[in-house]
């Protein structure tokens, strides 16, 4: 029984508490804490002349007001630039509270602490900030002209510029190859902004007891928040603990850290000697958390009569918003993952990461891949259109073949390591998606089209994750890992891995994530990496525990460890079920005791006669306890892949676009829990459809986000999402012990490309932007058929 847990749709262990209102999300904690609220800039770009807090001082319940001037030097420093890169020559990050200048609407200017949130917001409303408005930089075109600067010391508003080029087999560069190609095309693609938009915003709750600081944060990385907080506050690391409680979705935005509030709340808690909590509201999330997507791409491609790409030259303008705390990960991912499942003759990609007076851009599920895939898949469709070929035929002509793995794309990936695909079978996947959607039998009609999109996703990036596994004397198994959970079902899948590795019933396994008190070393949950990196670390830790358990049991049973098995929590001699010892007893024996706290523990005490009097109770090179810790550090990413196809119908009069069918074939190596993987795919596709058809950040020329509410930023409801048909291909990863690849972001990656492909097919009009709204389509029709 226990051996079949891996790969089974095991029901989620998280659900009972989440279904009964017993989850513990950030704002559910700290009922008696003081509340913080923030004065945020109403201007996209302005100099702060003066802040007058006087009018707010009489608000009943007011405890404190802080501006930049009130912060100690260390606390007031610019927030860290998390991922430096040599090409990011002009990286800039914000101050926790604005110093002299604000650079986007929503930038925090003052923090108010009061007895409750209502009072704190009353005080915020009365603080008078005297701004001298400056001309804002909005939109990529305006930014690259460089007439106005977001940062005075960043000429041309360019924070980073990076070129990567891979020559073809003949040694020719992309531009040369394109010039020499029988066919060439050039075009521009426009990709709008969207955002992670988890239903629970960010939040921080800080407690200081005079010596130790405990911080709860709705974060995707508690270990890194801990280190950042300790550094900013000058506290010894062991005096700081950070816990991610139940987190109501992340999708990337919560991997950024430390947010201003993650520094300011703990500092204020220490300064005031009081518990303080801040819960982000939805408007704050729109204007002060992060956005993503947002690129203009200029593409030139050369190809032969079969549609094989001979040269591809892409220039990307990437809108980074006002700051670059997360480095240039998003455009790096775009420019590398653009290549997808294809062998491109020669490839040149160049991007400029550009500042604008808008909310900063950091990864949102897909993290640059949707833009890259949009570019490559639009290119494939245009080639097919140009040559009059079937779109799948052109893709197939360019595929990396199953025999060509490991396949080196010749680029440097987001982890600083070579972009080498580990495994995959793209022709088989294409066959499967064509069959699933019925590609060859599709009946095209006016206003009815079919589209396809392919992608490869580097998942499970390092540097590492760890796992700790402890079997206690009651036979329970306690698993912990440092990375966090935001709905992915880690408590379930990690328990499946541990139960299968140890041979115990899953009911006995419990899992803790994102709590630095339990596990201090981790990176975080992003880049579809948790199952790959923590999953393997936990498996390796379990193998250590198993080995130790068998050693102790072999002693007790006077058997050879290699003859022993563990089944249902019982260590027994293979083929002789009578000779056995429960894992709980092994745990007792592993920890020699002086004091018995119950009957079972008495077996390990000094007069019980179980231990040899001639050896130390804890043998050399052994440790007490049945526990193990191990780490998994991948040499490089493992590459999942997928192909999606959709059928859309467009209304001849209103230009409304309806997705009537959506099919996904997905390969994430070995599946731990197919139910959870499918759920991840469904959710990703829904976010993708949002990005393809509805979601955009509507900044006006003043840098005001005019749709900063759920009334105006259109996230899909159930009525917008079609039934999603899925099929799985499993090409195990040769890079890790469990053979798994990541699945978290998969669903979202190709959707805009697929929908554009299908609309183009239905309308006969080239679709070069995302999202595409009915108004956009209506306008395109008017241009093409005036």
């Amino acid at each position: 029984m226990t051996t079949r847990l891996f790969g089974e749709p095991v029901p989620r262990r998280e659900d009972p508490r989440l279904l009964t209102g017993n989850g513990r999300y950030l704002d559910d904690l700290g009922r008696d804490a003081l509340a913080a609220a923030f004065v945020r800039s109403p201007h996209a770009h302005a100099r702060i002349r003066d802040i007058d807090v006087g009018p707010a001082l009489d608000v009943e319940g007011l405890v404190a007001i802080y501006t930049f001037e009130d912060l100690p030097e260390r606390v007031g420093r610019p927030l860290p630039l998390l991922i430096p890169h040599p090409a990011l020559t002009h990286g800039r990050t914000a101050y926790p509270l604005a110093k002299d200048v604000v650079r986007h609407v929503g930038e925090p200017v003052a923090m108010v602490v009061a007895t409750d949130r209502y009072a704190a917001e009353d005080a915020c409303a009365l603080i008078e900030v005297d701004y001298e408005p400056l001309k804002p930089v909005v939109g990529l075109e305006e930014a690259v002209q460089g007439a106005q600067l977001v940062h005075e010391d960043v000429p041309g508003n360019v924070g980073a510029h990076l070129v990567q080029e891979v020559a073809g087999a003949d040694g020719r560069g992309a531009r040369e190859a394109i010039e020499a190609s029988p066919h060439t095309l050039a075009f521009r693609l426009d990709i709008e902004r969207s955002a992670s938009m988890p239903l629970e915003g960010r939040g921080v709750y800080a407690r200081w007891d005079g010596r130790d600081l405990r911080v709860y944060s709705s974060t995707q990385t508690s270990t890194s928040v801990r280190m950042a907080v300790a550094a900013a506050l000058g506290l010894p690391l062991p005096q700081v603990e950070v816990i991610a409680p139940d987190v109501g979705g992340g999708f990337g935005v919560k991997i950024v850290h430390p947010w201003p509030e993650e520094i300011l709340l703990p500092w204020a808690a220490m300064t005031l000697g009081r518990e303080i909590k801040w819960t982000e509201d939805r408007r704050e999330h729109f204007i002060s958390s992060a956005h993503e997507r947002g690129q203009v791409q200029y593409v030139r491609v050369g190809f032969d009569d079969d549609g094989r790409v001979l040269g591809l030259d892409v220039t990307i303008l990437h809108d980074h918003g006002a700051y670059t705390p997360y480095g240039i990960i998003v455009p790096i991912v775009t420019s590398t993952q653009l290549l997808g499942p294809y062998k491109i003759g020669s490839y040149r990609v160049e991007f400029s990461a550009v500042y604008t007076n808008t909310v900063q851009v950091t990864p949102y599920r897909g993290a640059g891949r949707p833009q890259g895939v949009f570019c490559m898949e639009r290119t494939m469709d245009k080639i097919a259109w140009h040559l009059g070929k079937d779109r799948t035929e052109v893709r197939a002509a360019n595929f990396i073949q199953p025999g060509e793995f490991p396949y080196d794309q010749g680029m440097t990936f987001q982890d600083g390591r070579p972009l080498i695909y580990d495994s995959g079978d793209y022709p088989e996947m294409l066959r499967m998606i064509k069959e699933l959607i019925g590609w060859d039998d599709f009946e095209r009609a006016p206003g009815r089209g079919i589209g396809i999109g392919c992608y490869v996703e580097g998942t499970g990036v390092g540097p590492y994750e760890g796992g700790h596994v402890q079997v206690t004397s009651d036979g329970r198994v306690h698993v912990s890992t440092g990375l966090t959970s935001q709905g992915q079902g880690h408590e379930t899948v990690f328990a499946q891995i541990a139960a299968a590795e140890l041979g115990v019933p899953i009911e006995r396994v419990s899992v803790v994530t994102g709590d630095t008190r339990r596990f201090g070393y981790a990176v975080g949950t992003f880049a579809s990496r948790a199952a790959v990196v923590s999953g393997n670390a936990i498996a390796l830790a379990c193998r250590k525990v198993r080995e130790k358990a068998l050693r102790i049991a072999a002693d007790a049973l006077e058997a050879d460890p290699s003859d022993l098995q563990i089944t249902d929590g019982l260590v027994h001699v293979a083929g002789a079920p009578g000779a056995s010892i429960p894992l709980s007893t092994v745990a007792v024996l592993s920890n020699p005791l002086r004091y018995a706290f119950d009957e079972e523990a008495a077996k390990a005490t000094q007069f019980s006669g179980t231990a040899s009097p001639d050896r130390p109770p804890v043998a050399e090179e052994e440790e007490p306890g049945l526990e193990g810790r191990d780490y998994y550090s991948p040499i490089r990413s493992t590459f999942a892949a997928g192909m999606h196809a959709a059928v859309v119908e467009t209304d001849p009069d209103t230009a409304e676009i309806k997705v009537v069918r959506y099919a996904v074939v997905h390969d994430c190596g070995r599946l731990i829990n197919p139910m959870i993987v499918e759920g991840q795919i469904h959710g990703g596709v829904a976010q993708g459809i949002g990005g393809a058809l509805y979601e955009r950040m509507a900044y006006d020329s003043h840098g005001q986000l005019v749709n900063a509410s759920f009334m105006d930023f259109l996230m899909p409801y159930a009525t917008e999402i079609p039934h999603i048909e899925t099929d799985h291909l499993e090409t195990p990863s040769p890079l890790n012990p469990l053979g798994i690849k990541g699945a978290g972001e998969a669903g979202v990656i190709p959707v805009s490309a697929v929908i554009a492909s299908a609309i183009e097919d239905a309308e006969g009009i080239e679709i070069d932007r995302m999202p595409i709204s009915p108004s956009d389509l209506f306008a395109l029709r008017s241009t093409h058929h005036p």
């Binding site: 659900d15 989850g23 239903l199 709905g487």
Partner: protein
């Protein structure tokens, strides 16, 4: 100025003193400690804060607590019976109708009322019924499946 009100929450009368501007969602969460009701937008769009007010689903973030003095309120904490999870809750678990769980209490309250009024909804009616609740994790497919499954469970147990 504070107002003394009585709310009958999940069958128990609770007296609480609130300012007129206190939102029902804040009153439930912070005054009564019933944190199962979540707040996702505070402008009545996402549906996370949905509770049953005299049996009808309402947005507790758009309701002042003082305006519902004397009313009966059911929150997610009140859905399970003495013998365990309600059929709607069980169906959501069985069909993997939740991931992060933040929107879930609103869906559970909405669906509980939906199936009480219409025990055998069609596909269209289910979509319509949950079309006022946002979920950013599941893509809704398993939520829709869970609603149908809950209808089956309710029918079996009727």
């Amino acid at each position: 100025m504070e107002h003394e009100i009585t709310l009958v929450v999940n069958g128990a009368a609770r007296r609480v003193s609130v300012p007129a501007r206190r939102l029902l969602s804040d009153c439930l969460r912070h005054d009564l400690g019933l944190t199962g009701t979540h707040v996702g937008c505070e402008h009545g769009v996402c549906g996370c804060c949905t509770v049953l007010l005299d049996g009808r689903p309402v947005r507790s973030c758009l309701t002042f607590a003082v305006t519902v003095d004397g009313c009966e309120i059911t929150t997610v904490e009140g859905l399970a019976g003495a013998d365990g999870l309600s059929p709607v809750q069980r169906a959501f678990a069985e069909c993997h109708g939740l991931q992060c769980g933040f929107c879930t209490p609103g869906f559970l309250c909405t669906v509980t009322a939906l199936l009480r009024d219409n025990p055998a909804p069609t596909d269209e009616e289910v979509l319509e019924g949950v079309s006022g609740n946002l979920c950013r994790c599941t893509g809704y497919q398993n939520i829709v499946k869970a609603v149908h499954r809950a209808a089956e469970l309710l029918a079996e147990e009727a």
